[in-house]
Amino acid sequence: MTLLSIRDLSIALPLGADRLYAAKNINFDLASGEILCIVGESGSGKSMSANAVMGLLPQGVEPDSGSITFDGQSILDLSENELLKLRGSRISMIFQEPLSALNPLMRVGAQISEVFEAHGALTGAERRARALKLLDEVGIPDPEAAIRAYPFQLSGGQRQRVMIAMALALEPDILIADEPTTALDVTTQAQILALIEDLRKKRGMAVIFITHDFGVVADIADRVIVMKKGEIVEAGRAPDVLLNPQHPYTRALIDAIPRLTKTEPVEEVERAPLLKVEGLQKTFSTGSGTLFGKRRVVKAVQDVSFDLYAGETIGIVGESGSGKSTVGRCLVRLLHPDGGRVLMDGVDIAHMSGAELHAQRRKLQMIFQDPFSSLNPRARVSRILTEGMIAYGMPDKEAKAKARELLELVGLDETAMKRFPHEFSGGQRQRIGIARALALEPAIIIADEAVSALDVSIQAQVLDLLAELKERLHLSMLFITHDLRVAARICDRIIVMQKGQIVEAGPVNKVLHDPDTAYTSSLLEAIPGQDYERSLAAANKG
């Protein structure tokens, strides 16, 4: 039975946007119990199409023509009040931005109960009980505590699960999930996917699932839509599209998927370590957050030691909150480690400060996880790139010339110099971040989830770029990620972290194919789309 039917939908963008239509001539149907995956490049109109179904397009963005029919009603013709009745109860949505999608000043429990309240379901006590149950179902440890927590007290992954709980609260007919698992580590992701699968089976819930992870698509999709520049370039049953893509863009996408299987073996050369980390410690004490609240102590990093050799890439993987970022930030001294040593060229930089630190710092640079927030919105790219060099004494002119070179190196042309960060796409911004890290000619780069927000084709570009730069500039890299496929693709060695400690470390092929610990095995098992990868591999061979 067709539940949702979209015909010739076009969504106009406001004047001055990068193109006229966010989405053009979109057609698809969704039957109950069906899972439809939408994939495509960043900015191709996936989110806008999904928002249109909710009647929640941002200001200035409006449906131009076409129709959306849900259960016999034309959504585009409904009044705001009529829409209110549908939203949250019959159609619900998980938004793309998990970190900012929760009201920071409201307790999690209240935000979930609100869904019931808005639709007059259940009574006070029941709402709470139901909220608890939902939190449990999405796999949040200690729901009793979480229900009383404010969003900022939860990790990114936990927040995303709260969002999911909210969307599932009234067991809607349609769930629209816009990249719901980007911030989750593979095990949690697997758990969420199972939950959705379960609801679909039991309730016949239909799902529109937007993602850039082809592994997920392969695991759950019934049908797939591929979008590019606002148009659907390919649509069909999942196996057809995934294994037998027709459109060149789809093919390019699928080719770009990173593989777990590492082809070339790494040559093992003994060299003196460039960076020697010994017994690194970092403890956070989150002071009294609320009135008369208790002091909470988090041992984010406990006794972490490893060596990094010149020209080597080490991947750090592990569940969300395991201390990966904290290690990275301690190394570049954005955080002050509580204990341990970080030896670079034999000197301990862990406890340096002032001019000494200033001198050492240029050898260690970082690429930040979030390309949006790590670029000053009010600075032009030329300044972002040159100011570091100028700070280290390079004349203006020379710095500018160098910046142009760098832009070329990361695949941007020099007109970029004059533009502001918001004038770039996500992938381009990430490259600016890389160019900035390279500007000071560091010996070591720490990349914190540098590609997790990017769609596979851009992700592939960036990874290629990093690999190439590493070769050319003989860089060492510390690559923090939760995507094991990405780790497999770029790393020489892998460190697996759990609860602030290193549980396993070794060459990439060893760790990913023959792990020593149960924890690593469970991570590997949870990687989505492993069957699909094998089929793809088979198809490629054949």
Binding site: F368, S373, S374, R378, G388, F420, E423, R436
Partner: protein, 279 residues
């Protein structure tokens, strides 16, 4: 620079504001040429209503002085008071607030307690006391107004900086080897600008009004014609000659309006996100 103007002129209110302010500034500069006679000169019988006599389009005040000439000459002082005291207040408040917010911890505590120190005396009373100590010459009026108006700036800037300093782009800048001063100047303050601009445009208005309140209490500089003086002087005759306080009141209102519009326009123009809209 060109794109700045394009962006600025995209905001129609801002252009209107700029036109008004330009007129006011022009009047202030040209007053001595337009009205070479002293604005204090008693030229006609007192309390001449507007539009009743040629050459005195806005009538005369309690001593028979030309109101139009007073308005023109007063523009200079009122603008001077408003702009200079705002600049001084910003010059104190922004660094204090930025340092407190950026270095946080002890520095913050010390600077904020220092700010509180100035905050604790009711600002109007402090101005009065300061003017009792130093004679109310224009300079001291400006100094007094500046001294009482910087603490809110410091508090506001601190709040903004406190939240900006944890942003990733600030961390990135410090990784690039920038010093604290450079980080504050180039990365933090530009992003804290919108509320500061709004506040500054409000402060100019407040300073002009404060000067008039002080004049109202007889604490202005009696040797210099200002709008505040005119309102203050006219208030006792408000019942018999309402226009005497209404006219300078309108002048203040228009100027304040213009400044607010410009402030909003500046904000738009300085916001790179709005750039492409106009092109």
């Amino acid at each position: 620079m060109k794109s700045f103007w394009t962006r600025f002129s995209y905001n129609r209110g801002a252009v209107i504001g700029l036109v008004i302010l330009t007129l006011v500034i022009a009047t202030a500069i040209l007053a001595p040429f337009l009205f070479p006679q002293s604005p204090w000169k008693m030229v006609q019988r007192p309390f001449l209503p507007p539009f009743t006599q040629d050459g005195l389009p806005l009538g005369t005040d309690a001593l028979g002085r030309n109101v139009l000439s007073g308005l023109a000459h007063g523009a200079y002082v009122s603008l001077l008071v408003g702009l200079v005291s705002t600049i001084v207040a910003l010059a104190i408040g922004v660094p204090v607030g930025a340092a407190a917010g950026y270095f946080a911890g002890r520095t913050d505590d010390a600077l904020m307690r220092f700010t509180e120190f100035f905050q604790t005396i009711p600002s109007f009373a402090l101005a009065i006391v300061l003017l009792a100590i130093f004679q109310p010459s224009l300079t001291f009026v400006i100094i007094a107004i500046s001294i009482v108006s910087w603490p809110p700036v410091a508090r506001l800037v601190r709040g903004e900086v406190l939240s900006l300093r944890t942003r990733e782009f600030v961390e990135a800048a410090s990784l690039s080897g920038l010093g604290n001063l450079q980080i504050i100047l180039r990365h933090i303050l530009p992003n804290a600008l919108p509320p500061i601009i709004v506040l500054a445009s409000l402060m100019v208005a407040q300073a002009i009004l404060l000067e008039s309140s002080l004049s109202f209490l007889g604490l202005g500089d009696p040797n210099i014609m200002s709008w505040g003086y005119m309102i203050g002087a006219a208030r006792t005759v408000i019942r018999t000659a309402w226009w005497l306080s209404f006219l300078p009141g309108m002048a203040i209102l228009l100027t304040v309006l213009a400044l607010n519009l410009i402030g909003e326009g500046l904000n738009d123009a300085l916001n790179p996100r709005l750039t492409r809209k106009s092109e």
